[in-house]
């Protein structure tokens, strides 16, 4: 997928821009930025020599929905991201090379761009049985991951799998599928959760890293703040119906037709951090809530294990039977109430009996 040494300049030339135009662009940029007379040639030099950031894209236990999402990016178009901005040197799902040829690229990148390449990981490694549940190139995926992570500049954890574990890590997680940040602990990791993440969020993250040469600002959970600092709920276009108290009570009721809030139908918008309600999907066409279905919280930790997608209150499995907080609480509070009532009754009886005794003694 493109020579590993390709620079921005060669890409620019390949896209039909003349060297003359290229230098005009450099001069103009330097002038408009108010830089000194030497800046134009420095910019030109940088673009001619600075290699595009090599990206190694690996696949662990996953369903490829992240890749499927990524290749549908509209802004920027994925062709621009892959062919111009980054140098996608390895992606076993979509690359032409296969077998030993493909493995060679990994070795080559590791040697040539030590500490400079981005390791993008889709899916996660299963750790049970020595990682035997995911074999890649004849070796457990976890070994390959650790090897490539050693010399990477940073790691992008694509999707809910790499970020949190997702479905393969759902209870009881027989393969012990483990998110990337629990396996690689000595490298900066940027989580881009979602099942899959929004295409524009993915290319946006890649664009940021290649443009500025550093990771975007991350939140407490390691997610880029620019896409994950707010909940679906905070920017939901149905929010006015929530605040007014207008809810869909049943699928297909009048409120559903009118597009009222899906809170009572178990929408996870209030607990889900993602950019769906602003960036939306398929080039900004729609997103689940706009299509009449609640958010299922696919970019959140352990979203498979929080009970039904259609319940407002989370199922609590620790109590044996599946119950939510209200059911557990009401049973507990009811028990306490009954105990108190019984205690009061016994107290009253005892007191009456005691009084009778006292009266007898008095006589």
């Amino acid at each position: 997928m493109g020579a590993a040494t390709e620079t921005f300049y060669s890409v620019i030339r390949r896209q039909g821009i003349t060297r003359r135009s290229f230098h005009k662009f450099c001069s103009l940029t330097a002038t408009s930025l108010g830089l000194g007379p030497l800046a134009a040639s420095r910019i030109a030099n940088a673009l001619e020599t600075k290699p595009r950031t090599p990206v190694i894209w690996m696949h662990g236990l996953e369903c490829t929905c992240c890749s499927e999402s990524f290749i549908r990016s509209a802004h920027p178009l994925v062709k621009d991201a892959v062919l111009s901005m980054i140098s996608l040197d390895y992606d076993d799902t979509i690359m032409a090379a296969a077998g030993h040829q493909a493995e060679e690229i990994l070795e080559e990148t590791r040697a040539k761009y030590k500490g400079q390449y981005i390791l993008a990981v889709e899916g996660n490694p299963p750790l049970n049985e020595g990682g035997m549940f995911c074999i890649d190139g004849g070796k457990p995926f976890v070994e390959k991951l650790k090897l490539m992570a050693e010399d990477a500049m940073a790691i992008i954890a694509w999707g809910a799998c790499a970020s949190w574990g997702c479905v393969q890590a759902a209870k009881p997680n027989p393969t012990q599928a483990t998110p990337i940040d629990k396996v690689i602990t000595n490298k900066p990791i940027i989580k881009v959760p979602g099942c899959p993440p929004i295409a524009e969020v993915m290319t946006g993250v890649v664009t940021f890293i290649t443009t500025f040469g550093k990771l975007p600002e991350l939140d407490r959970q390691g997610r880029p703040k620019m896409f994950y600092s707010q909940r679906i709920h905070d920017k939901c276009y149905r929010r006015p119906h929530f605040d007014a108290g207008q809810f869909v009570e049943e699928w297909d009721d009048e409120a559903a037709r009118k597009g009222h809030c899906l809170y009572k139908m178990g929408c996870k918008g209030p607990t889900t951090y993602n950019a769906c309600s602003t960036v939306r999907w398929n080039g900004g066409v729609s997103f689940p809530i706009q299509s009449g279905h609640g958010c299922i919280g696919c970019s959140e930790d352990g979203f498979w294990d929080k009970g039904s997608f259609y319940d407002r209150l989370t199922t609590i499995k620790q109590f044996g039977i599946e119950r939510n907080a209200d059911e557990v609480g009401m049973v507990a509070a009811g028990t306490v109430g009954a105990a108190v009532a019984a205690h009061a009754a016994v107290t009253a009886v005892k007191r009456l009996a005691g009084k009778r005794d006292d009266t007898k003694q008095d006589h």
Binding site: R220, Q230, N324
Partner: protein, 247 residues
């Protein structure tokens, strides 16, 4: 809850009257001890009201009222419920902090609900005695000026710890709406390091509410019962601040 202390040595002067009582003499007038200072009483009733409001509104946030008809711009039901919940929550937080402050400057009774003297053997003995009293195995209750040891244990875990938990998780959840640059998130965002999915925090906050429902049930019952059974004022003490011992 009930109070008072079987620590006659540290004794407010009025305790002498009880001693006289125990000696078989009928005291002239009922002995009273000043237990709850005004700030303690104010905090008690403000917190009680705030907790009731928080429970009702909190329940309605988890299980909203039936839908409202008409244009969304015409009503703000959920908005008002949530506002009330947040406002009551902040009131509770402020008065809880005030109460902690008073524990430092108030009398020794004001400190009781903030600790359990786990190292004192006598304390556990008296806890056992109280348990036996509630299990109808003791005929006579011991009199305490402040909380009895069992009550102190219940107050510390059932009130102080649970309410602290509710305030912390409550502010963490509130910070989600305020945004990650808010002071609420800076102070309480660490909750999401423990439970990355705020859905879990919602659930625990919800369970905490039910735990407080249980506490309130027992608290109110025990206060009324002790008022009647242990021959000392309990409920009116939280109004006047004075504990009256009846014969």
């Amino acid at each position: 809850m009930m109070d008072a202390v079987a620590r006659p040595a540290e004794a407010e002067p009025n305790l002498a009257a009880i001693a006289a009582d125990a000696a078989g003499e009928h005291a002239v007038g009922r002995p009273t001890v000043y237990v709850y200072e005004a700030p303690v009483r104010i905090c008690h009733w403000v917190n009680a009201l705030a907790i009731v409001v928080l429970m009702i509104t909190g329940y309605l946030i988890g299980t909203p009222l039936p839908s409202v008809e008409g244009e969304a711009s015409a009503s703000f039901v959920m908005g008002y419920i949530r506002f009330t919940h947040f406002a009551a929550g902040q009131v509770l937080a402020v008065f809880f902090l005030a109460r902690i402050f008073w524990a430092f400057v108030g009398n020794h009774h004001s400190r009781q609900i903030f600790y359990i003297p786990v190292h004192r053997k006598q304390f556990w003995k008296e806890v056992l005695h109280e348990i036996r009293w509630y299990a109808f195995l003791e005929r006579e209750p011991k009199m305490y000026v402040g909380h009895n040891p069992l009550a102190q244990t219940a107050m510390f875990t059932g009130f102080t710890l649970f309410v602290a938990f509710m305030i912390v998780t409550g502010f963490a959840l509130y910070s989600e709406g305020e945004g990650i640059d808010s002071w609420q998130y800076r102070l309480f965002g660490w909750v999401f390091s423990i439970w990355p999915n705020s859905q879990d925090v919602h659930t625990y906050h919800h369970l905490g509410m039910w735990a407080l429902v249980m506490f309130v049930t027992v608290h109110v019952y025990a206060a009324i019962r002790e008022d009647i059974m242990s021959r000392q004022s309990i409920i009116s003490s939280m109004v006047s601040g004075e504990r009256q011992f009846r014969e």
